[in-house]
């Protein structure tokens, strides 16, 4: 049976390292290939951390958008051990 790809929004605003990346990993653990995870973060380290994780793990960093008071980091799950 085909599964429906999900779009999860994880709000880590106000949380500092390792909060945002840990929140992303929790979402990653329960995600499936093709899912989109959108991480909202105010911690400036989140951009570099998520970028480095995506590069190392082979997941796709779709976008990094600087909003007025926070950053929106969009990741597509393209690599996960099943």
């Amino acid at each position: 049976m085909a599964t429906v790809e999900q779009h999860k929004v994880i709000d880590s605003r106000g949380s500092f390292c390792p909060g945002p990346i840990t929140d992303l990993f929790k979402a990653y653990r329960s995600s499936q290939l093709g899912d989109i995870i959108e991480l909202l973060a105010t911690d400036p380290a989140a951009k570099a951390d998520v970028t480095a994780w995506a590069q190392k793990s082979g997941n796709e960093l779709v976008d990094i958008i600087d909003e007025q008071d926070y950053t929106r980091i969009v990741v597509k799950i393209t690599k996960k051990r099943s």
């Binding site: 949380s15 500092f16 390292c17 390792p18 909060g19 990346i21 840990t22 990993f25 990653y28 653990r29 380290a45 570099a48 951390d49 480095a52 994780w53 190392k56 793990s57 082979g58 997941n59 690599k79 996960k80 051990r81």
Partner: protein, 419 residues
């Protein structure tokens, strides 16, 4: 009669009970207040001692005392695990079928390390988080280990004592140096974080020391499973490493009583206000230490500092005072780095850890804490801790209590005003 029930007899629960018994001594003797501590175990461990048991061969007995020895006489200790907390009925039910009603509740149920949450972990890995006996199994394994790959892996976050995985790697290095077989042992450190320690400033201290000692690090390794037969550990990201000895920090979750009562978040941690330590949406209910969902270190020091705030706030509520306190997020986690040196990972909600150099003084300060821990639990060393920690709490001058809560407390107090 104002009844305070504290659920959980670890560091935070024991300390809060003793602080309240001291603060409310006259009220307790006058029949106006009571402090009941509900706990599962008669034996109270000093959990940081697990590292010494695992990597230095200390006896588990050295780090255990009976709970009743640690409590002030005005605390009623009920050795009967809580199985249900009912906020509506303001009651706590125990395994034996007893029901305790409360006016004020403190949830100090801790976090539960649970190797069963990762396939193969319980069979394939040892750990020093599930108690002294399991820590002793690490020491026994090290005695017969003659060479190969030892992996220290963080298999779930958050976990108790954030520096402990790094300490384990440092202590393994020292152990194998002393045995004269360090050159035959590869030590590998697997972490889900981007760096060897999550806080960047602390990682800048740890990383060069790991390099110098030949401790290999693999970052962004979120443990997926362990194959005990093949002796391999796998990450969600698709990496795999072979091990000869695996020491893993298990995933943690909230206590069964929180999960079974339906009062926790997805992981069983209690949603709590990070300042006054009130359980969100409840009146007269507080949570402390590892039991909360607050993004701060799960450690005894945090539970200790939050206990001071909670004990103060409960007494203030009883006295209908607006003199409430907020915890400022202060953490202070010692990390041994070998060669009788240590650092302290210190921070608050608003100030991250700062640069520091490992020192022998900090090592001996950490060591001395193991000796004063038992006395510290009865609250008699608070002046010393206040001097050491500096500001850890501040008055809530600008945040008056909601009117609803004051009214309910007044109604609960009735004509007997506790002053």
């Amino acid at each position: 009669m104002q009844r305070v029930v504290i659920v959980g007899s670890g560091d935070g629960g024991t300390f809060t009970a003793n602080l309240l018994a001291s603060e409310l001594r006259d009220e307790i003797h006058g029949g106006l207040a009571s402090v009941q501590l509900v706990g599962e175990h008669l034996h109270h461990p000093f959990q940081p001692g697990n590292l010494d048991i695992a990597f230095k061969g200390a006896s588990p007995d050295k780090y255990v005392k009976e709970e009743t020895e640690l409590l002030r006489k005005d605390v009623e200790f009920i050795q009967d695990p809580a199985v249900k907390i009912d906020f509506k009925a303001k009651s706590v039910s125990t395994k034996s079928g007893r029901t305790l009603t409360y006016d004020f509740l403190v949830i100090a149920t801790g976090a539960v390390p649970d190797p069963s949450k990762v396939p193969g972990l319980a069979q394939g890995a040892l750990n020093f988080h599930t108690g002294g006996k399991d820590s002793q199994r690490i020491w026994e394994s090290l005695q017969t280990f003659d060479g190969g790959t030892v992996i220290v892996a963080i298999a779930g976050t958050p976990h108790k004592c954030p520096p402990s995985p790094n300490e384990a790697a440092f202590m393994l290095d020292e152990f194998f140096q002393k045995r004269g077989i360090r050159d035959k042992v590869k030590i590998k450190f697997l972490t889900p974080y981007p760096r060897p320690y999550p806080a960047e400033k602390i990682s800048k201290v740890v990383e060069p020391m790991f390099q110098e000692k030949g401790i290999e690090v693999s970052t962004f390794f979120n443990v997926d499973s362990v194959d005990p037969a093949e002796r391999k550990i796998y990450s969600l990201e698709g990496e795999a490493f072979h091990y000869d000895l695996l020491i893993a920090i298990p995933p943690h979750h909230g206590a069964d009583v929180i999960i079974d009562s339906g009062i926790g978040d997805q992981e069983g941690y209690v949603p709590t206000d990070k300042g006054m330590m009130k359980v969100q949406g409840q009146v007269g209910v507080y949570a402390i230490g590892d039991a909360t969902n607050i993004p701060v270190s799960k450690s005894g020091v945090v539970a200790h500092l939050q206990s001071v705030v909670v004990a103060h706030n409960i007494v203030a509520e009883m006295q209908q005072s607006s003199d409430m306190l907020e915890y400022n997020g202060r953490i202070n986690c010692p990390m041994e780095v070998g060669a009788r040196k240590a650092i302290f990972v210190s921070a608050t909600y608003s100030s991250p850890p700062v640069d520091q150099t490992p020192s022998t003084i900090k090592y001996f300060m950490k060591r001395s804490f193991a000796m004063i821990y038992w006395r510290a639990l009865n609250g008699s060393l608070e002046r010393m801790f206040d001097l050491f920690f500096g500001q850890t709490r501040f008055p809530v001058k600008d945040k008056p209590e909601p009117q609803k809560q004051v009214v309910e407390v007044k109604a609960a107090l009735g004509e007997k005003k506790v002053a």
